[in-house]
């Protein structure tokens, strides 16, 4: 690229000296016929997804009684899954928007896949509040529509209402940001398929590419639009999980009623999201042979963010615990003692060890660069962050103010199946994405290649011309 660049600055793309190599490498999986391994995993995840949808249908048929909820524990698996999936989404926006504002070059090769992850995760999340209504065809009542229902308006004071606005804004803005970033890459694919004589594929990507031709005037606008979108998405991502946390924090339940929740939830969301990014990227870079674009240095940078956010989460756990004791409030103290030593203590300690202790191992450089180890830790983080939400929700509810109202909670197979179904949906979408769309942002990675060489097709032409 044109600007002066120090030779000692880190290189984020390795073994690449031609722009064409990037287009070839990233388009290869799209151009190839789907292999058996891909078909197998897509079919499995699709099957699990269908099972999940079937169980959602069963829930509608039977009612919410098909779940293990009771009058005391009115929120459990579904809201846990909702918060879990929304949190997963946060890393994608963080990578694509916040790292763009900070001009971090390593975002360029992982932003596409993590934004895709965001969208699929938010889709999974959006299912849960809808099905928790039991009568999802009433969902339209969340809309602040003109008064045709007998003077019935939504309550704008309610954090649940804020959530409706936050999640729908987040989903649509992320979708637009993701799609816009893909437009130039669709154009590359359109022209590649046209050169290869594959007319149908070329026409499909042609429609998707909106007629992009890469003129400088449009690149100039495109870059400003991307920048402003990231400027908008950055506070948006912080607001979304803050609002999710206020679903709890504005209530009077001990264990929920704390002012630390918004920053604590945001840190946790980024932590869990980066855990999922690790899980997906380690597999993706290996399967699609993208090690030159998603290098070990990328994985190390992600691991560093995991240590930072994991430590923030750990600090939040301890602050919460300290404040409960320091407040002198009997209810607060009991709620936290109950979390650690009550009937759900196993969940608390799984959460604590997965989220606070295991990421600390990333202080060792050799472990940060060991992909098998990182993969295992990332699975621990995913599990730990799911349990965090379970601990916050279920342990705060199950021992009510009156001991006569105390209750336990066991998920039914329907709830467990729906959770599995959302994992199926998430993976199914991701598999389709990885096959039909460019997994790595081609045009942005091209800007990271320096010391460029003459393309092979020109050398061949010259050789023919003699």
């Amino acid at each position: 690229m044109s600007h002066v660049r120090s030779s000692i600055r880190q290189k984020w793309v390795t073994n690449t000296t031609k722009y064409g190599q990037i287009t070839d490498g990233i388009s290869a999986p799209i151009e190839a016929k789907p292999n058996m391994l891909w078909l197998f995993f897509t079919a499995i995840s699709g099957g699990v997804m269908l099972m999940g949808f079937g169980l959602i249908g069963w829930t509608f048929y039977k009612g919410i009684g098909a779940w293990g909820l009771n009058p005391t524990v009115g929120w459990a698996f579904d809201i846990t899954n909702f918060v879990f999936w929304v949190g997963i989404g946060h890393a994608g926006t963080l990578i694509s928007a916040v790292l763009l504002l900070f001009r971090q070059e390593w975002r360029n090769s992982i932003n596409r896949a993590s934004e895709a992850m965001t969208i699929f995760a938010v889709l999974c999340a959006a299912i849960f509040p809808l099905i928790h209504m039991g009568r999802p065809w009433m969902a339209g009542w969340f809309g602040p529509l003109p008064n045709t229902r007998g003077s019935l308006w939504v309550n704008f004071n309610s954090p649940l209402m804020w959530d409706v606005f936050a999640i729908s804004t987040y989903l649509t803005v992320s979708l637009v940001f993701w799609y816009l970033g893909m437009v130039p890459d669709f154009a590359s694919l359109r022209d590649r398929f046209a050169r290869a004589g594959r007319k149908i594929a070329s026409a499909v990507y042609g429609v998707l590419s909106f007629g992009w031709e890469g003129s400088s005037r449009n690149w100039s606008r495109f870059e400003i639009v991307s920048l402003i979108l990231s400027g908008l998405a950055t506070p948006l991502v912080l607001s979304v999980h803050s609002i999710v946390s206020m679903d709890f924090a504005t209530s009077v339940i001990p264990g929920w009623h704390t002012t630390i929740f918004p920053p604590y939830f945001v840190a946790g969301a980024i932590f869990s999201g980066f855990g999922m990014v690790q899980t997906l990227m380690i597999v993706t870079r290996k399967v699609y042979k993208l090690e030159d674009y998603i290098t070990l240095d990328h994985m190390e940078s992600i691991a560093k963010i995991v240590i930072a956010t994991g430590s923030l989460v750990g600090l939040a756990y301890m602050t919460e615990f300290f404040t409960a004791w320091y407040s002198g409030s009997l209810w607060e103290r009991y709620a936290f003692a109950n979390r650690m030593f009550g009937p759900f203590a196993f969940a608390y300690w799984i959460m604590f060890s997965c989220n606070v202790i295991t990421p600390q191992l990333f202080w060792f450089k050799s472990l940060r660069r060991n992909m098998v180890f990182t993969f295992i830790i990332s699975l621990f983080i995913n599990v730990g962050m799911w349990f965090e939400r379970f601990v916050i929700i279920v342990t705060s509810l199950h021992r009510d103010f009156l001991p006569s109202s105390w209750a336990g909670y066991y998920p039914t197979w329907v709830e467990a199946g729906i959770l599995a179904g959302t994992f199926g949906l998430f993976m199914f979408c991701f598999f389709l994405f990885s096959k039909f769309l460019p997994v790595v942002n081609m045009f942005e990675v091209k800007t990271l290649v320096h010391d460029i060489e003459k393309p092979d097709h020109l050398k061949e032409k010259e050789a023919v011309a003699g």
Partner: protein
């Protein structure tokens, strides 16, 4: 009307910038440059003004803010004021989250829609390509032939600055 273009094709973005610098000095009017990725610092050579989409985004955002405040203010203040435990029926602090979300919603979508309209992009639009590799690894400098005085010297400069190919193309503009 048909337009005749003189095309200089390059494989290195640095040489593109050097060529454009020369053309700027010699007052050769460049129609546009087509590249697989944005070339930073190209704007002054092509007389590209900073886009006003940022202003548009601000206006859309302000519209979002107004919509949110009007909606909530009207519902809670005029149409259906509620007395919940003696609290004020117009609780401004709890309007903040929705106001923020609608501001972002309007700004983001409004700006992107405007971008698509200004750049004349729509699904299914047929791209007019100067070179079939301009979205892959080739950079094209396009010059409107009607607007150059001495074509042969421009051709020579293009070759001199590293164009691997200099050709012509006729584009039928609608």
């Amino acid at each position: 009307m048909n337009q005749q273009f003189l095309l200089g094709k390059f494989w290195n973005p640095d040489t593109v910038l050097e060529t454009l610098k020369k053309f700027k000095e010699e007052n050769v009017l460049v129609y546009d440059v087509y590249s697989p990725f944005p070339i930073h610092g190209i704007e002054p050579y092509l007389n590209i003004k900073r886009t006003r989409l940022t202003v548009a985004a601000f206006i859309y955002g302000a519209m979002g803010t107004t919509t949110a405040l009007l909606l909530m203010g009207l519902v809670f203040g005029v149409i259906w004021p509620m007395d919940i435990g003696g609290k004020p029926s117009l609780p401004w602090p709890s309007f903040v989250p929705i106001t923020f979300e609608l501001t972002v919603l309007f700004a983001a979508h409004g700006m992107v829609i405007t971008f698509l309209i200004v750049g004349r992009y729509w699904p299914g639009k047929k791209a007019v390509l100067m070179d079939d590799r301009q979205t892959d690894d080739i950079f094209v400098i396009a010059i409107d032939k009607a607007k150059i005085e001495n074509e042969s010297i421009v051709r020579e400069w293009l070759h001199q600055f590293g164009a691997h190919e200099v050709t012509e193309k006729e584009i039928t503009s609608s």
